[in-house]
């Protein structure tokens, strides 16, 4: 991707979006003074084009589009090292959560859709079965992402060790989980929650 020059002006700064991120993550990006501890400790920083401290800087400047165009948020492993080490209590892991949610809402599948696909299947599993069934999750993921052979070699070994369950039962109180999902959807439609 060609680098676009950043122009900072009232037109390019969108602080409404940043405010939404701050509400969702319950933290303030303005507290950050760019010490860089978050990026120094981040195990995934080498995979990101904007390391964690720069994500916060871009938010301070209202340049959130640059973040969502890139892959940084989809390479965050949610290990929370950044939040733990921040001297100013900027909860960076929550900011990443908020950015992923807003990106998910606004754009649907992105370039990094494998991560989204995995997340989405995970949530669907909870809605349908109440619990997670790893074998099912992995199998459906492979089919939907077209990687039929991914980790196939692990399969027989895991089966032999009794680590993959072929059959599973649904929770008895499954209707309650469905209610939680649909209530949240309703609240969002009515604008009662972000």
């Amino acid at each position: 991707m060609k680098k676009k020059k950043m122009v900072i002006s009232q037109e390019t700064m969108d602080l409404d979006f940043v405010r939404k991120v701050e509400i969702l993550s319950d933290t303030s990006v303005r507290r950050c003074f760019q010490c860089g501890k978050c990026s120094a400790g981040c195990p995934m920083a080498t995979f990101m084009e904007h390391p964690p401290n720069r994500v916060v800087r871009l938010l301070q400047l209202g340049q959130w589009r640059r973040i969502l165009e890139g892959r940084s948020i989809w390479y965050c492993a949610s290990c929370e090292t950044c939040s733990t080490r921040c001297p100013n209590k900027v909860h960076l892991a929550s900011i990443m959560d908020a950015l992923r949610k807003l990106s998910w809402d606004a754009h649907g599948p992105s370039k990094e859709s494998y991560v989204q696909l995995a997340n989405k299947l995970f949530l669907q599993n909870i809605r349908t079965y109440g619990r997670q069934y790893e074998m099912r999750l992995a199998a459906v993921f492979n089919v939907k992402s077209g990687q039929f052979l991914k980790d196939l070699m692990l399969g027989p070994k895991l089966l032999a060790k009794g680590k993959l369950k072929m059959f599973h039962s649904k929770n008895k109180n499954l209707s309650e989980i469905e209610k939680i999902f649909s209530r949240i959807e309703k609240m969002r439609k009515k604008g009662e929650a972000l």
């Binding site: 969702l24 319950d26 195990p43 995934m44 995979f47 390479y75 492993a77 949610s78 290990c79 929370e80 090292t81 939040s83 733990t84 080490r85 209590k89 909860h91 892991a93 959560d97 908020a98 992923r100 949610k101 998910w104 494998y114 991560v115 989204q116 696909l117 995995a118 997340n119 989405k120 995970f122 949530l123 909870i126 109440g130 619990r131 997670q132 069934y133 790893e134 999750l137 992995a138 993921f141 991914k150 980790d151 070699m153 895991l158 060790k161 009794g162 680590k163 993959l164 369950k165 929770n171 008895k172 309650e176 989980i177 209610k179 939680i180 209530r183 949240i184 609240m187 009662e192 929650a193």
Partner: protein, 295 residues
């Protein structure tokens, strides 16, 4: 010492313990039975949502955990959690809902019930080291793990985040080492005990996981460890199940068995390999245990 003979807990195993980490579930139940600690599984618990839920939908994640905390109220005792991810989510939910009124009201609406936040959530380590106590743990040892060098791996979620009251110091925890030393094992000092293994990407980015996990295995091996101990089924999945694959990719050999904490404490308490599910481990511990005279 006061007579706290009857320790009873409600038990939240989490999804992994009912599938790929069956031996963690089994060894936990066996060990707690031997130590006379009661565990009653929370009836019809749900998935806590783990990392994928809060990754894209925090409200859903909080609601799922709040629902589980409500279900746990039906069983007497503090909530014992085996999985580090479930532990972190349940604790974080309690903390967030206590601090943030807006989110609490939203969650109450989503689960259509008042949230209950007074129950205590405890990881198995907490129960062994503090509730039972290291002295009583040491007294239960039948076969001290003498000469076994253990690399205690905390991973990321066991001690994070800082602002949530948690298991131990975030940056320099010692609880795993204390438990291991009280059952006679040696622990090694190593660099990667708090680094993330990338569990969230197991499905979507195995290449990344392999790199991160390799660094952890390498660090443990360099420090002279015989084996690794974990308290999280996701860490175990990466370190144990993917170890052969990693050895192939990086043309190296680690051969480090990866135990759950309940398995190692169980061996010390004199439980058999069968009861602890040791044959479910992909990297076999048989030779190591024979060498040290433990099996």
């Amino acid at each position: 010492m006061s007579e706290k003979t009857s320790l009873n807990y409600s038990y939240y195993p989490g999804c992994s313990l009912h599938a790929s980490a069956g031996e963690y579930d089994q060894s936990t139940k066996e060990l707690f039975k031997t130590l006379n600690i009661g565990l009653t599984e929370v009836p019809d618990w749900f998935c806590c949502g783990a990392t994928p839920a809060h990754n894209v939908d925090e409200l859903l994640s909080l609601s799922l955990c709040a629902k589980n905390l409500e279900l746990a109220e039906k069983v007497e005792g503090d909530l014992a959690v085996a999985c580090a991810a479930c532990f972190s989510r349940l604790k974080t939910t309690q903390h967030v809902l206590l601090e943030n009124d807006v989110k609490r009201k939203q969650v109450e609406k989503a689960i259509d019930a008042p949230v209950k936040l007074d129950g205590k959530v405890k990881h198995l380590l907490d129960i062994l080291a503090r509730d039972l106590g290291l002295e009583r743990l040491a007294a239960s040892v039948k076969k001290p793990l003498a000469g076994l060098k253990v690399a205690c791996y905390y991973g990321c979620l066991l001690t994070r985040p800082t602002d949530v009251p948690n298991l131990d110091c975030t940056e320099a925890p010692t609880i795993m080492e204390k438990v291991m030393e009280s059952v006679g094992a040696e622990t090694v000092a190593w660099t990667h005990r708090l680094e993330c293994c990338g569990a969230n990407f197991t499905l979507s980015r195995p290449g990344v996981v392999i790199q991160l996990t390799n660094a952890i295995l390498e660090s443990a091996k360099t420090a002279g460890a015989d084996c690794i101990m974990v308290g999280c089924p996701l860490c175990h999945g990466n370190l144990d199940i993917r170890q052969k694959e990693i050895e192939g990719v990086f043309s190296t050999s680690y051969n480090l068995p990866v135990f759950y904490l309940t398995q190692l404490v169980g061996i010390a308490a004199g439980l058999s390999a069968d009861k602890l599910g040791l044959d479910a481990m992909i990297v076999s511990p048989a030779r190591l245990l024979k060498e040290k005279g433990l099996m």
